[in-house]
Amino acid sequence: MKINLERLSWVDVFLWVFRVVAIALIIIGIVNTLSSGKYTSEQWGTLIFAGLAQGSIYALIALGYTLVYGILLMINFAHGDIYMAGAFTAVFLADKLATTGFLAVHPWLSLLLLMLLASTISMLLAVLVERIAYRPLRGAPRLVPLITAIGASFAIEYTFRGLYGPGFHSYPDVPPLMGDVNMGTFAVPRVQLVVFFAALVLMVALYYFVERTKMGKAMRAVAEDKEVAMLMGIDIDSVIVITFALGGALAGAAGIFNGLFRPQGVYFFMGFVPGIKAFTAAVLGGIGNIPGAMFGGLLLGIIEALGPNLFLEGLGIPAANQLKDAIAFTVLVLILIFRPQGIFGERLSEKKA
């Protein structure tokens, strides 16, 4: 790249320095950690599997952001709460199933029921948010639906808080998910493998839907050009509803996976951080790009799992594991500086930006 010195502003200089420092720190951290030999390859393997499981949850949520962005060029900032709503509602069914003993007798069927319920609730809520908060504002300046998104987000959070209180509600243990699976030299919690593969199945199903079915093609057509799509006879509104519904359903499933995965359970604010992380994953993969969201989610999961030990410890940062959340947001800042269009994204054109 040729640098025109006269046009080089202080912002550019700062960004270049920042880029160099960021890369140097990451490399130094990795080299220090690896040369110290503190962790075995088995330990890294365990971390990678944990990262993949967590990442597949991010990926499912990220798909909701990216699907909606692809079609409406807007960020549905209530999406994290749509994810929360499904998981939160399903916890009551999970309790019922556990106390009646059904869960112990038919654990897999119970999981399926929970997933269906969470997905349905999240889906309905996503469609409702579109109808109430976004559709009346279509064609309004782009800041406006952003504000209603934040309003919708608060409305959902405080509805749940009002109904069920601010505390945590835990999912019961599901027997077949307990214990570890032996991977040769190291063991991986069974729940992680189940979550990862279940998420993978959903992602493949979504990909098939978007690539192969008539409605999927219509979604891509609407994403490209709404007017011409109408001239094909496509009802734009129904395509938009289906887009929100799909995103919601995936988020609902992700909520169940998260509930199984993390013992602390659900509460009204649980959607906030995963929501922002999944948004980061979507931006990482290239917002609007479906494989990008899947890949971005998995990658973010792995970065987050390895990051504290791999980069931070090597830099001598104490209590690195508590900085996990900071890593995701650092990643967001770094992508926005290095490659704002994301890994698979096209450079944002004037029209889309």
């Binding site: 011409v228 001239l231 734009i236």
Partner: protein, 237 residues
């Protein structure tokens, strides 16, 4: 009953009064052309027919039915199909997927297959490239795709907005031959063209549009001979 009837249609873009009382008819089986200078309102007229723009006054009537209550996609369902100005193909979809979208509202598998074969017969190039992403087609191929896609809807009324734009003369002729062929197979055509000579040579009748108003209408042969038309649109002195 005419296939299509516009009665005193007024349409606006904000404060711009783009159509100032357009009345025209298109009969079953005809090719009717709409000619006029840049900005005369030709595209706007087609947009009011397809429902992309709703007239503020006046009515658009398709086979006796007022289209006012219908949205664009519902009007397509009534047998109207349009090749938009500048082609409007879906660049990221493949050729075959674009054609699929043309048949979006149809469910008759064998009928769709027949239409597809017909399109591939009309434009063998599209068949060769059916798996190619449409954005990488040449301009002429994109125009063929836009036409083919409109035909996949099996329309009774086909609206064409400058199908010759940006094409080499040989291709222009091929496209016009195709329009005639489509028409002979039973599709009514409303054709908007800058290339007035070509348009008038295949059309049955024509309308001349000037700043949102129809200033002349006649059978095509007479329009070709008309002094004003020759001067303004056929480049003759």
């Amino acid at each position: 009953m005419p296939m299509l009837e516009l009665n005193n249609v007024h349409a606006y873009y904000g404060h711009i009064h783009a159509l100032q009382g357009i009345s025209l008819t298109v009969d079953q089986g005809e090719i009717v052309t709409l000619i006029g200078a840049n900005g005369a309102g030709k595209t706007t007229t087609l947009r009011t027919i397809t429902g992309l723009l709703k007239p503020r006054h006046g009515s658009v009537i398709l086979e006796g039915e007022d289209l006012a209550p219908y949205k664009a996609h519902q009007i397509v369902a009534r047998g109207v199909s349009m090749v938009p100005e500048g082609r409007g193909i879906f660049a990221k979809l493949t050729v075959a997927e674009n054609l699929d979208m043309g048949a979006y509202l149809r469910n008759d598998k064998s009928g769709i297959q027949e239409s597809l074969e017909r399109v591939y017969r009309l434009f063998p190039r599209l068949k060769e490239r059916h798996n190619q992403v449409a954005g990488t087609l040449s301009g002429g191929e994109q125009q063929m795709l836009a036409m083919g896609r409109a035909l996949m809807a099996h329309p009774r009324l086909l609206l064409l907005d400058e199908p010759s734009m940006g094409l080499a003369p040989v291709l222009v002729e091929a496209i016009f031959d195709t329009i005639q062929e489509i028409n002979q197979q039973g599709t009514t055509v409303l054709l908007v063209e800058q290339n007035a000579l070509m348009a008038l040579s295949i059309a049955h009748r024509g309308y001349v549009l000037q700043t949102g108003q129809i200033v002349l209408s006649d059978v095509a042969a007479n329009l070709k001979e008309n002094e004003m038309v020759q001067k303004a649109y056929l480049g003759m002195e």
